[in-house]
Amino acid sequence: MEGNNKVYWKGLEELSNDIHFVKNAEREFPEGTPLPGTEAAANADIMPASRRDFLKVMGFGMAAVTLAACEAPVKKAIPYLNKPEEIEASIANYYASTYVDTDGDYNSVLVKTREGRPIKIEPNPLSGVTPAGTSARAQASLLSLYDLERLKGPFNGKEKKATDWKSVDAAIGQQLQQVASSGKAIRIVSSTIISPSTKAAIKEFIAKYPTAQHVTYDANSSAGILNANQTSFGKAVLPFYNFDKAEVIVGIGNADFLGTSPGSTTYSALYAKTRKLGKDKKKMSRHYQFESTLSSTGANADYRTPIKSSQEGLVAANLYNKIAKKLGAAPVSAPALDVKGLDDAANELASAKSAGVVVAGSNDPNVQTIVNAINNLLGSYNTIIDLNAPLTLKAGDDTAMANFAKELSQGQVGAVFFYNANPVYDYPTGKQFGEDLKKASLKVSFSDRMDETTSLCDYVCPDHNFLEAWNDAEPRTGYFSLGQPTINPIFQTRAAQQSLLAWAGNTVEYDKFIQSYWRTNLFSLQSKYSSFKEFWIHVLHDGVFEPKNAPVAAVSFAGDVNAAAAAVGKAGNNGIELVLYQKIGIGNGAMANNPWLQELPDPISRACWDNYLTVSHKMASELGLTQSEEDGNDLVTVEIPGKPAITLPALIQPGQAEGTVGLALGYGREKAGKAANNVGVNAYPFASVSALGVGYVVNGVKVTKAGEKRKIAQVQTHHTIMARPIVQEAKLSEYQKKANAGRFMPKVATSEGKKKATDISLWHGHKYQNHSWGMVIDLNSCTGCGSCVVACTVENNVPVVGRQEVINRREMHWLRIDRYYSSDAPKDDVKALEEASANPEVVFQPMLCQHCNNAPCETVCPVLATTHSSEGLNQMTYNRCFGTRYCANNCPYKVRRFNWFNYTNDERFSDVNYMSQTDLGKMVLNPDVTVRTRGVMEKCSMCVQRIQEGKLNAKKERRRPVDGEIAMACESACSTGAILFGDMNDPESRISKLIAEETEGRMFQVLEEINTRPQVSYLTKIRNKA
């Protein structure tokens, strides 16, 4: 038997063999766990079913049957009065558009609409920025369109009543004139705007009111790197990293370029290119990460060293010195610091030279300056790092914002407009900001909901949702994209740009305004189309316009690395550090009221619907903190001098650096909507504002045990692996020698000697004459971003269940990304294992129905609700299922999810899932997929609706389906190409070729030894380790 001797575990409970964990591991379903706070919970003990109840139920049943036997209700069929030419009922239309959020997440997308309503977001393959895959947030953004918390029209905050656009315009126009004539300042406060037309509209507004200024700030600021690049290169930009050209990547601090950093969708794709392996590519990049909280990027690194955040500068400076020594450059004076892996990183960077790159996540310009110096030393500018076509996704100016806050407090501001900004919630001094806001005589918000800032405003002029609006974007210099409406505005909203233009006295429609901007500024950048109309039609169709920019001269480094090193050398190192980080789903909290994002488990902690203090194992034992599935996690009180203390649960997080604790931003919303309000605590007030900008690392934090406990909705330990080799991995050196290194090849003892498990079978197997649908998932490419999980939720109408039901282990996700920690430590060496758990290796494994050919579920279903198709699919028929749950008990992969409640109608779920319970929210449902009711089992169908549609399209055109034409929702959402779906019967398909190449190589099937013969295969994880 081959394979590695690693120990894998999903959570600390499993590693430490927590008694409740062991108990629950034996139980597939938590029986009798009613929802707390409900009648059922209160009456659970005193309400046995009595004879009277039985009679009642029977009586009702008979009455229901009698009623059903009566005339069926009359259903109407209401056609269009005037059918739009492009809409045919039941045939989806796709429109190219652009998703941008306030957190620097950009995706060029195709919006799938059915009968005029958007129901799914897909990547736009024509985009040069995000050609493949989308972010989880882009996938989920769809639901925000149908959010009932959205304002229905303009609102007068002074009189607390809805109003109309005409009177709003009149009032605001009049007050603006007053403010302008009084000479007081007018400020437009926004998060980063990447739309050139919006900027032009703001410019027009400013031209009309000369005291107006535009203040840009980002809730999660990147001002540090912008400032550093300003001093180093004279360009305040976010560099674009061509990770695909990198051989050595070093991340310092919260450099989460695969997770929450701007451009992560693009970067994931580029990064994954260097991690792909195959017959002709046996090399991959090496990735070092030095960070305090375990980020998605750190989890994907080959070597990860936990460091305190205050050491980021020193790590960078020491790295600089070590490389400088190798390359013969002058060192900087900085205290020597040696952390594990730093020497190796320096050596490899020095030998990789321009094929190496260092990325830092710090918002401290000094750290960024040193990193710039390292990259300059290596010569990676203009190989990997592109400053000439940089990202524009973050442009917030912390100084400008701090100045604005000062002006506001001094009463110098007469009018203030908030566009995509919510500083009362997400600015560190937000509370004070809210108080000072009263000093401005005119406060206007363009927010789509009554959020923390908006509720303090005099007028609310709600903006469209991005799916209802025209817009454009320039996410990267020279890369333009267009956003177009995919549905008529649902409410009486108006584009914010339209409002600004109106107040500036320009009555042009905003879409015409965009067109004229493009005509003047962009049309001339191309020569393909001679008329603007033609150009516009094509750009609108493609969604993107990416004129080839002439190469600009190479940059020269002018930063003062010595000064920067001196500054970071002084960084204090006192007490416990609080690191404020972001979660991949919730981000900066602007989209917190999106149940899909709340329910998306964090890739690392696997927790949802909450934020919590991540603490290291050592600190937990020092403070006496415990966690268990049964009792919950200990609450801790976090105290920071000068700030109100907060109490929140602590989560023991492997990989958390000693002396640091982590806390996610974006939670603790108060006025975002039913789903987000009071979920977690708001961490923004803990961020510091200094001359260096906003700081997300706070020193001298006091953490004490608070005494009580709270459960965290964590899915990680819900399905144990029973110490079976689910994940298979190898080191690159082993792989280079032998393609199937790390593979577990089980043999079964028979009377005729040992045999491969797949050689023996009770069944005759299936023969697929037509198609044989299958999937191959590359563990080496999966970064765990969770975009596939949300895509699956959207495509398949998967219900949201909320925190309590997740705690009850009843989450409904058809596709989950299992996160395993692992260690080389021997299985019985407890001490070594504990050490390893302080900084474990991580592997992500997307787990979905494996569509077994010898499916254990199929044989136990008493009603044939789950059967096998002639195309290799394991079919689940909801109308037949009556909920014995035998199948889930018998499923070795634990991918079958039982529907415990009527989530889409049960009022107990109206808080967590209220959108799905309203007529408006139901518009998001995929009309081709059944909405399951309670009492039935459900699971991944391999997007059978997409398969059927693809086959039908082929049949209608009298041809075979083309490979790639049918794509799974998870597959198309994946930016790294980790998931490949196709027809294994088609010898020309990519999947057939991959299988042919990898059968004897990296390909394995999970639990091969039990001979379920899945249609889903995996490729081993390869780590580039010595």
Binding site: V74, K76, K956
Partner: protein, 403 residues
């Protein structure tokens, strides 16, 4: 069959290859389909004026073929250009703008012209297409009817025989009794037996009879109950009154307007789609515009209120059905499921629309593989075996319809 396919499809690409060219460089069969889909609403292939002129001999009237191409694709442009013949036609027919057909290729127009020519010469019988349609349909709804008929005949015959036997037996008993009562040598016991009369009251009171009646009653009620339960949700014969008394008999039967003219997505998508009012207005802006029923159309458009038709065919919940799979790919005629729709004044649900009905058809119907490369591989595999029915290639698997 070729005619049928051509008549049923609206896919111009496909129709082009369906039959060899008839005359004049155009394909009459393909042209017929195009004509019926696009032109028949306003033009007849004969001399008859419907909305626009009858098209018989049109090529002898128009300036040239290029003019026809331009006119069909964009007649208003031709009129605007000051074209003499175009304006003459325009003025002659009440200044009614002809709909533009920018999607039609020159070859398509050739086909239509070829059809018009062939229609003028051959004058095909009106029922030909329909007859072909029924011949082409591969489902066999009559089979089960035949076997029940036999069963009934045998049953009736048996009952008649039984009644005869009973009659004969009664006659024999009467004869014997009469004969015996005339005998004088009978003992008292025998006489008692002979003169015994059946006490009906007593018989009815007996346990056996009571039991039998009870069992029969229970069985009967059970049967009725079960039957009614099995009919829950089945709306066979459902023919609700519609808000506008639209007659399929008139439009589809008498005027032979192609189904897809109104049900635009029947060959393209899942839904056949109920026509929007603007489709009605293609003709009814001029035809019968004083009728009270058609006035309802105008009212709807004026008030911007869509017409709320009553949905007749309601598929059971949780079942996916796609029209195009059956019409376009399967080549089935609408009548297969919808009955003689062209004879219905008010639309009625003919099929039970139960799963049994679906499965039954999938078991009986052969896959329409002709000219469809999708099926080539399957045809090769099944070539030597039994005919390839829908069920043979997975047509009765759960997730073909339930997902």
């Amino acid at each position: 069959m070729v005619l049928l396919l051509a008549a049923l499809t609206c896919s111009t690409v496909w129709a082009q290859g369906a039959a060899p060219a008839a005359s004049g460089g155009g394909d009459a069969a393909a042209g017929e389909a195009l004509f019926k889909n696009n032109c028949a609403a306003c033009h007849a292939a004969s001399d008859e004026v419907v909305v626009g002129p009858g098209l018989k001999g049109v090529m002898t009237r128009v300036p040239n073929k290029d003019w026809v191409y331009k006119w069909v694709k964009n007649s208003s442009a031709v009129i605007a250009s000051g074209d003499a013949y175009g304006n003459q036609i325009f003025n002659k027919y009440n200044k009614l703008q002809m709909q533009s057909f920018p999607d039609l290729q020159n070859a398509d127009i050739d086909n239509i012209l070829a059809y018009i020519e062939s229609a003028a010469t051959a004058a095909p019988t009106a029922d030909q297409a329909k007859a072909d349609g029924q011949g082409g349909a591969t489902a066999a709804p009559a089979e089960s009817g035949l076997s029940t008929q036999y069963f009934t005949i045998i049953l009736v015959a048996l009952l008649v025989v039984l009644a005869l036997v009973l009659l004969v037996l009664i006659m024999i008993i009467t004869l014997l009794t009469k004969f015996l009562s005339n005998r004088k040598d009978l003992s008292d016991d025998d006489r008692e037996l002979l003169e015994q009369r059946t006490d009906i009251g007593k018989l009815l009171q007996s346990a056996v009879v009571k039991g039998a009646v009870l069992i029969i009653a229970v069985l009967l009620l059970g049967k009725i109950g079960l039957d009614s339960v099995m009919r829950i949700g089945i709306a066979q014969g459902y023919a609700p009154k519609q808000p506008i008394a639209y007659s399929h008999k008139l439009h589809a039967g008498e005027y032979k307007i192609n189904c897809a003219y109104c049900h635009t997505s029947v060959y393209k998508g899942k839904n056949a789609s109920i026509p929007s009012a603007n489709i009605c207005m293609n003709c009814h802006s001029v035809i019968k515009n004083s009728s009270p029923e058609i006035k309802k159309l105008y009212t709807a458009i004026e008030n911007n209120q869509p017409i709320e038709w009553i949905r007749v065919h309601n598929l059971p919940d949780h079942a996916y059905f796609n029209h195009s799979q059956h019409t376009n790919v399967g080549g089935l005629a609408c009548q297969n499921c919808h009955g003689d729709i062209e004879k219905m004044e008010v639309v009625e649900q003919v099929a039970p629309l139960t799963m049994g009905w679906c499965i039954d058809c999938h078991r009986k119907t052969e896959v329409n593989t002709k000219g469809n490369a999708y099926y080539d591989k399957l045809v090769a595999i099944h070539a030597s075996k039994e005919p390839m029915k829908v069920a043979t290639i997975g047509g009765i698997e759960c997730s073909k319809c339930h997902y």
